[in-house]
């Protein structure tokens, strides 16, 4: 897909031949994010679409209680310290950003009066600044007015390294400046194509200056408001027990008319995903349950009970297999999988192609994930996909055998292929999780037919995903031949996501395995494209660059994508809720209501 074709597609949307949603889906299929796709449309002057959820309640309150269930309870309620989504969601009940991401990647204003664009002068032509107009008449829950000072303060607070906020990545390279009481200008050090990061979405929730001012920097932990949030959101704080319960009540001075609908909100934590699904779908004790990593078969059986349903929305998470480019079995300077080594056989393109052909994505989707994992060939799909919409992946053990045979990998007496004395024996690791172990089995079976011997290894998730430098089994060390896990693309912009294949991000002992390039694949061409994308201001050209990068990754079989993993939530039948794969579960909480 080149720039030309991309522009044609945008023109089709503009002319109404292709739906907005269709375009976004295609872009997501190409490995881009919905927000980036929406940005392309906006730059071409295609009007923003209305959110599909229509709010039908005609007055504020009167809706009773809404009870939500998170199988991991939030542990803190300061959005700048929110480590996991559970904490971001808990904070989002009370705090709001300037704007949020809807399911199609459009920006929806919360505390902003309007969404900045080049057309309305909010976004500068050189890409070095963006000006936000703030909504007037917004009050914090304690009655103090919300102004530009608060926005600027959030930048100061989050960008101060001593605060140790987890949002620092979004704020450290920008400057926020007050223009007047309700206008804030954000300037970037260099031209920044994707400006909607600071003050937007889960990392953009705003905390009040008057309550946090004294607790900036090293004293950040001591702020009493960390546990008793005072925000601008639709619900006011009532009670918080870390890990167990967050309670809120209707905010009578909320800045949107007739909202919120519910009188109280409850976010209960703890337990496990399957019983959370049960409490919403089967018994109806609760109205909403988050992040249901449950086998689809179980969900379907529960849905027959009929009090709720599973709601599935696309996001950017991909379960994939990584191939190690370095030798995990030789130690060099105190580390295995050192960038100074070469993998004995995985660098052979024939082996890579063969591996790509033996991953039975169809079986993995049908028998293991169901609706919760959609087979995918690629981080990126072929352009043909636009026409057929069919995913193109191939399971072909015979072809894999032929490729290996042609490349000189001959079957030995033990049925395992070998070449120059090197046997195709590999260790395949992943975290312990029923779905993953089943997937490993599916891959291993076909591999055995082709003459590749796979040893399966499972590592406890808490070890596998830890950053413990002393442990050899973490995924960043990658001390095995191939490994599998889900990368989460929570950022609306793919730039950060794509830096996992750049040569300067290679994980090694030197950077305590904090580099994001786990496969240790290096490509000059990819690096060049990435550098170009960092400063390219035209969204369409930039998207083309990302698509090319994706192509490189797939052509070289750096990784083998297995399934897309959409977000799954359980929602009571009477609840009207809209999920977005690009923002918090509560991004649209002010519009939640009940019908019937």
């Amino acid at each position: 897909m080149d720039e030309h074709k991309l522009r044609d597609l945008i023109a089709e949307v503009k002319a109404g031949h292709l739906s907005r949603r269709g375009f976004v889906q295609v872009m997501v299929g190409l490995g881009l994010t919905a927000p980036l796709a929406a940005q392309m449309l906006a730059s071409a002057g295609v009007a923003q679409a209305q959110s599909k959820l229509m709010y039908k309640a005609t007055k504020r309150g009167g809706g009773g209680a809404v009870k939500t269930l998170w199988w991991q309870g939030p542990t803190l309620l300061n959005p700048h310290f929110a480590v996991g989504t559970k904490d971001q969601d808990g904070s989002r009940i009370f705090y709001e950003p300037l704007a949020s991401w809807d399911p199609d990647g459009n920006l929806v204003a919360n505390l902003a009066a309007e969404i900045p664009s080049v057309q309305n002068g909010g976004v500068s032509k050189d890409g070095k600044s963006v000006t936000w107009k703030l909504k007037k008449g917004v009050q914090w829950h304690d009655g103090k007015p919300f102004t530009a000072d608060d926005v600027v303060f959030n930048w100061e607070y989050a960008s101060d390294p001593a605060t140790a906020s987890v949002t620092i990545g979004s704020y450290k390279d920008i400057k926020a400046q007050k223009i007047d009481s309700h206008t804030v200008k954000v300037t970037f050090e260099k031209p920044t194509p994707f400006w909607a990061d600071a003050f937007v979405g889960v990392r953009g929730m705003l905390i009040p200056k008057h309550l946090f001012e004294a607790f900036k920097g090293a004293k950040s932990r001591e702020a009493p408001t960390n546990l008793k949030p005072v925000g601008t959101g639709p619900y006011r704080f009532v009670d918080f027990k870390p890990g167990d319960m967050v309670k809120g009540e209707l905010n009578p001075t909320y800045h949107m008319p007739n909202r919120p609908y519910f009188d109280t909100i409850e976010m209960k934590g703890g337990g496990d995903a399957a019983s959370a699904a049960r409490a919403v779908i089967q018994t109806g004790e609760f109205d909403y349950a988050w992040n249901l990593q449950v086998e689809d078969e179980i969900l379907k059986r529960m849905e027959q009970g009929g009090k709720g349903k599973a709601d599935i929305v696309a996001g950017g998470n991909i379960e994939h297999i990584q191939l190690n480019n370095t030798d995990p079995w030789t130690e060099v300077d105190g580390e295995r999988s050192s960038i100074k080594t070469k993998h004995p056989f995985l660098l052979d393109p024939a082996v890579r192609q063969a591996l790509n052909l033996i991953v039975d994505r169809g079986a993995v989707q049908e028998q293991i994930y169901g609706r919760t994992g959609i087979a995918t060939a690629n981080f990126l799909n072929e352009p043909k996909r636009f026409a057929s919409k069919a995913t193109k992946w191939e399971l072909n053990a015979d072809k894999a055998s032929q490729i290996l045979e042609a490349a000189g990998w001959k079957k030995g007496s033990d049925g395992i292929r070998a070449k120059d004395g090197k046997k195709l024996k590999m260790v395949y690791s992943t975290s312990i999780n029923a779905l993953r172990q089943k997937t490993q089995q599916v891959v291993k079976q076909v591999a055995a037919k082709v003459g590749i011997d796979m040893e399966i290894k499972g590592v406890t998730a808490s070890v596998y995903f830890s950053s413990d430098v002393g442990n050899p089994d973490t995924y960043t060390k990658f001390y095995t031949d191939i490994q599998m896990y889900t990368t989460t693309m929570t950022q609306p912009d793919p730039e950060l996501f794509m830096n996992q294949f750049t040569s300067w991000e290679v994980a090694s002992k030197e950077n305590k395995w904090q580099g994001r390039n786990i496969t240790r694949w290096k490509s000059e061409e990819y690096d060049k494209l990435y550098r170009a994308a960092e400063t390219e201001l035209d969204p369409v050209k930039r998207a083309t660059l990302f698509i090319k990068m994706n192509e490189l990754v797939i052509q070289n079989v750096v990784v083998i994508p297995v399934v897309f993993r959409p977000r799954v939530a359980a929602i009571a039948n009477t609840m009207r809720v809209e999920q977005s794969g690009w923002d918090s579960d509560f991004w649209n909480l002010h519009n939640w209501y009940r019908e019937g």
Partner: protein, 319 residues
């Protein structure tokens, strides 16, 4: 007596120090990282994590951290949780009432079931009543709580739809309605735990009473003309209780630290569920405090059990 008491108290100090040292070292050396989620999040620069580690003193050598922990603990400062940044004591106090209520009631229920059944079984051994009681007791303690818990949920919440299976610590209701709601949600976890403990205790009471009931002094009491009831209650049960007291006393610390599995199944926000989530997120200060409090309680209740012996059996004297 007071001398004995003092000596026992003094012995507990090195014991507790030893326990804390072992716990601390094991936890410090265990794999895992409290800031694991930050590591996998590309949006968080590694410096933030490094910064947090220094701020929370995680990069110091283990002996330094241990001494710091002990000195703080002596002053009554239990530290703060890495994940919620709340003081550990606050977290524990938030959870304690629920745990005490659910597990305390379960313990009581267990005793109320076990004592009469155990004694009656022993008085009429191998009768039909004893056979049935024995069968149920065996079933009771052979089935783990996660099994009975799930069976209860399946039956009472899903098929019959009578009881909720998610426990909420603070119910938005007052008066009788509150009592009713509370009873409805607490009945399943309490029954599951109570019957499990009761089953084991029943067997224990039965064998303790059987040991005593054949002794000569019991016959003497009977031949004095005491009623059967008097003999059993005043002479048999009192003596038979000594081993039972040991068991019960050693079970009480568990009331404070919660029942990890049952709390997880019914989402009871007690200390057990706090402990398990702290373990899963490598929140060492919380894990350390809970396990240490548990150790201290075990030591304390051992002492109490020893003191109660003296009251139950005057022949035991303290030197």
């Amino acid at each position: 007596m007071s001398k004995y008491f003092l000596r026992r108290i003094l012995i507990t100090i090195p014991a507790l120090l030893g326990i804390s040292l072992v716990l601390f070292t094991v936890l410090a050396m265990a794999p895992g990282d409290p800031f694991e989620e930050l590591a996998t999040n590309p949006n968080v620069p590694p410096e933030v994590r490094a910064n947090l580690r220094t701020q929370f003193g995680l990069d110091d050598p283990i002996p330094v951290r241990y001494v710091r922990w002990v000195t703080a603990m002596v002053k009554g400062d239990w530290g703060f949780s890495f994940t919620s940044r709340v003081n550990v004591s606050t977290l524990i106090m938030q959870r304690l009432p629920t745990t005490l209520f659910v597990l305390g009631t379960a313990q009581l229920l267990g005793l109320l079931v076990a004592l009469p059944i155990g004694v009656y079984s022993a008085v009429r051994p191998y009768s039909i009543f004893d056979q049935i009681a024995t069968t149920f007791a065996f079933i009771g303690f052979s089935l783990p709580t996660f099994c009975t818990g799930l069976l209860f949920i399946l039956l009472f919440s899903i098929y019959l739809d009578w009881l909720p299976f998610i426990y909420r610590a603070d119910i938005a209701a007052t008066g009788w309605r509150w009592v009713w709601e509370m009873a409805r949600q607490a009945i399943m976890p309490i029954t599951v735990l109570g019957l499990f403990q009761g089953a084991a205790t029943t067997r224990f009471v039965r064998s303790a009473v059987l040991d005593v009931i054949r002794l000569d002094y019991v016959n003497t009491a009977r031949s004095k003309g005491l009623s059967e009831r008097m003999t059993i209650v005043k002479h048999v049960v009192r003596n038979a209780l000594i081993p039972v007291v040991t068991i019960v006393a050693l079970q009480i610390p568990g009331v404070f630290t919660g029942a990890v599995i049952t709390e997880q199944i019914f989402r009871v926000p007690g200390i057990g569920s706090l402990l398990i989530s702290a373990i899963l997120s490598n929140d060492t200060p919380v894990v350390m405090s809970i396990t240490f409090v548990f150790a201290a309680l075990v030591v304390l209740f051992n002492l109490i059990a020893d003191l109660v012996y003296g009251w139950l059996d005057p022949r035991i004297s303290y030197r």
